[in-house]
């Protein structure tokens, strides 16, 4: 993705410990080879109305340990398919973090207490800032390790490997 671009959208606010079973539970495993159907259930366990309200460019904003649990890459995948442009959270579980970046979905770590549900938010990936256009105020997020930033810049792990043929550290 073009990391110089500004991302702008509404915040959909979630609490702490949103697990992969909230995002896309195991009982829908039979839909994993039918992604459009699977994506209809995104975050259903945390907010059944999310899928009908979320729009292109919006943000998932959460508390701590977002995405804990399973290695299922379908969790960040269905969030991305819903049009979400980035996940903003206090902390994110390791496997989910890596999976999201591998799919070209930015994950930004900062204190999200100042962002409320429905706030209009603008993210500058390059500057590392998040502006709350509704409530005012600006947050900064922790920079990604270079390797993750490079993967994100190419739009995910497959395009990164296609371009470089290997991991470039």
């Amino acid at each position: 993705m073009e990391t110089g671009r500004l991302l702008r959208g509404r915040a959909f606010k979630f609490g702490d410990s949103i697990s992969t079973d909230h995002i896309i539970p195991g009982r829908y495993a039979y839909l994993r080879s039918n992604l459009p159907e699977l994506a209809k259930h995104v975050l259903e366990g945390a907010d059944p109305t999310f899928v009908s309200r979320v729009g292109e460019g919006d943000f998932v904003v959460a508390g701590s340990n977002f995405g804990l649990g399973s290695s299922r890459e379908h969790a960040p995948l269905v969030i991305k398919m819903a049009g979400v442009s980035a996940i903003i959270a206090k902390s994110v579980a390791r496997i989910f973090f890596r999976n999201a970046i591998n799919l070209g979905l930015p994950v930004l770590i900062c204190d999200t207490d100042g962002i409320n549900d429905g706030d209009e938010v603008e993210v500058d990936l390059k500057a590392g800032t998040i502006s709350n256009l509704t409530a005012g105020g600006q947050l900064t997020f922790s920079p990604l390790p270079d390797v993750m930033l490079a993967i994100l810049e190419e739009g995910g792990l497959l395009p990164y490997i296609e371009k470089y043929g290997d991991f470039k550290l």
Binding site: S17, S19, T20, D21, H22, P25, G26, R27, A29, Y30, L31, R32, S33, N34, G45, S64, N65, L68, G69, S70, S71, R72, E73, H74, L77, S91, A93, R94, I95, R98, N99, N102, L103, P145, D146, V147, G156, L157, L158, I161, E162, D166, F167, L169
Partner: protein, 417 residues
Amino acid sequence: MGKTLAEKILSDKSGVDARAGDIVVASVDLAFVQDTTGPLTVKQFRATGSQGICGSLRAAVFLDHAAPSPNQELSNDHILLRSFARDTDCLIYDVGDGVCHQIVAESLARPGELVVGADSHTVTAGGLGAFACGMGSTDVAVVLQLGKTWFRVPESIRVSVTGQLTGAVSGKDFILHLIGLIGADGATYKALEFGGSAVDQMSISQRLTVANMAVEAGAKAGLFPSDGVTREYLVEQGREEDYRPLAPDVDAVYERTIEIDASRLEPTVARPHTVDNTALARELKGIKIQQVYIGTCTNGRLEDMAAAARILKGRQRHPQTRVVVAPASRRVLLKAISAGYIEDMLRAGAVVLPPGCGACLGLHQGVLGDGENCLTTANRNFEGRMGNPKAFVYLGSPATAAASAITGEITDPREFW
């Protein structure tokens, strides 16, 4: 300055002096997928245009989560994975062979190896001294292509075990206690390294249970040393040649050290809906249990079957409590039959399922009804985990599960031991 187990293995596999915080590219020894993550790996692997799996890698496909398949969609995923295994000539373990992590421990992972699996509980093989790490489908697809991937070398938290687990108190109680102590994100991005004066008193079965749940504290890996206990286990599995001793350096640097006197632990249970929401089993007396589930990659081994059968033998399940048993592998099932454990549990009123993951993730074979409580020996109790967001999942040891099956409520197993 000495090295932790994680630093030693990642140095060995990357060819550089790897220290906590460094980012390295390391060669992977063993990579695997299972039937709910594998189809996406296959799709991504094919998208790379690779002709075959990297020759330096051992690769395996496991059909264990939906085994046997409950519907046409998952059956078609199985067809895809079987055909991928044929095309790439990788190992395949089909329906009934067992849960991936159990077979990896029995037959595949070696001490000191780097193991990557498209399943979060890949950390289980850390019980044998492997650096084993769960990843997503695309990461594993690239590992299959290149035979390597990148790692941030984790800081390690040393968990020093003193005192011996005794009686009805097991490795499950140990790890639930630890997660209750440090929290479900207490080790995020880090390695949990187990050692201490009494670590050699922990069997491989217990070590695998403890390592399995390292990820429930957010850890990247849960590592045990490879010692005489490891060697004995590998001899039992018919692969003595895979043994190599492995220990951290005495002057290794840890982020912090936690001491746990295992002899003082009591049967412990995690309450809904997070794994760190722990209490003692005896404090939860009176909570009715409609289903007990004994099995999974956490507690589906022979020792676990023995503990459950010891309590269930000659007794009957509570009339309001179903007992579902799923040994973790064909090898475990066969041994549990020979030892009489399966008969003891069947006579006590249990249902015995084929080896597999099914009910643990709410996929099939033991999905809970609205408002029901389940005491499971599995590793996760998230909302919706066992197939129903209106159900409640408690985690405990096989002994606690068996004791609760008899009384119909959460019960301290020492009453029956």
